[in-house]
Subunit: 133 residues, 2 copies
């Protein structure tokens, strides 16, 4: 039911600058992609087994603006796991006592696939995203 | 030069309890292993492509005690990347302006391999460990 670690998302003020040191170490770094509907600019770093996703605020109502107020240098914002069936995963998580953020209905995430976020208090202080693989 | 994401380390007060929800989702969860020389108890969650490593303080001088004072619910403590040659990686990182924590000499980490930690200010607020693969 729990699949691959899809990505680690790191919120920063400047995604291209943040990714630069990964490029210097030989990792593949994507161009910056603005996602206005999600309020972020993304830069992906491709590692052999997963991705690091730098997210930079876009617009005045970016969902990561507050996080960057609290963490001026940036920081790890969330981790995302693949699940084969997001409804089955959600129902199992709720049964285990985990709280789903929002109304519990998957919405289309930054990769064009259904996603949900789980409450950090139910995941050891880590914000967890699940994405239908 | 930069290899796989070896693990995501999540610091918590109770590693077995934290890993329980991953087990409920079908992930393989290791027994708790005390590592007195590192001041932590570890529980590993094996995902298809990487590991989540829960670390719980052990002893009065645990290196993660302060982190848990600041983050009572726990939180993502560091991310670890494999590198084929830790000295070459260190020298390249220093050349790029990254600060190596401690004296810059690799020490043997929790997996029995040479590791170094890099300053979070040089990695977008994320504490980064590199481990010789």
């Amino acid at each position: 039911m729990l699949g691959r670690l899809n990505h680690v998302a790191i919120a920063v003020k400047d995604a291209e600058k943040a990714a630069r040191i990964y490029g210097a170490l030989g990792a593949e770094v994507s161009p910056a992609v603005p996602l206005p509907e999600h309020g972020v600019i993304t830069v992906f770093v491709t590692l052999p087994n997963t991705k690091i996703e730098f997210i930079q605020p876009l617009g005045e109502t970016s969902p990561i603006a507050k996080f960057l107020e609290r963490n001026a240098d940036g920081g790890i914002h969330h981790i995302c796991y693949d699940v084969p069936d997001i409804i089955a995963a959600r129902d199992r998580l709720v049964k285990e006592g985990a709280r789903v953020l929002g109304d519990g209905v998957p919405r289309i995430g930054a990769h064009g696939k259904p996603v949900l976020f789980l409450h950090p208090k139910d995941f050891s202080g880590a914000l967890v995203e699940i994405e239908q693989a």
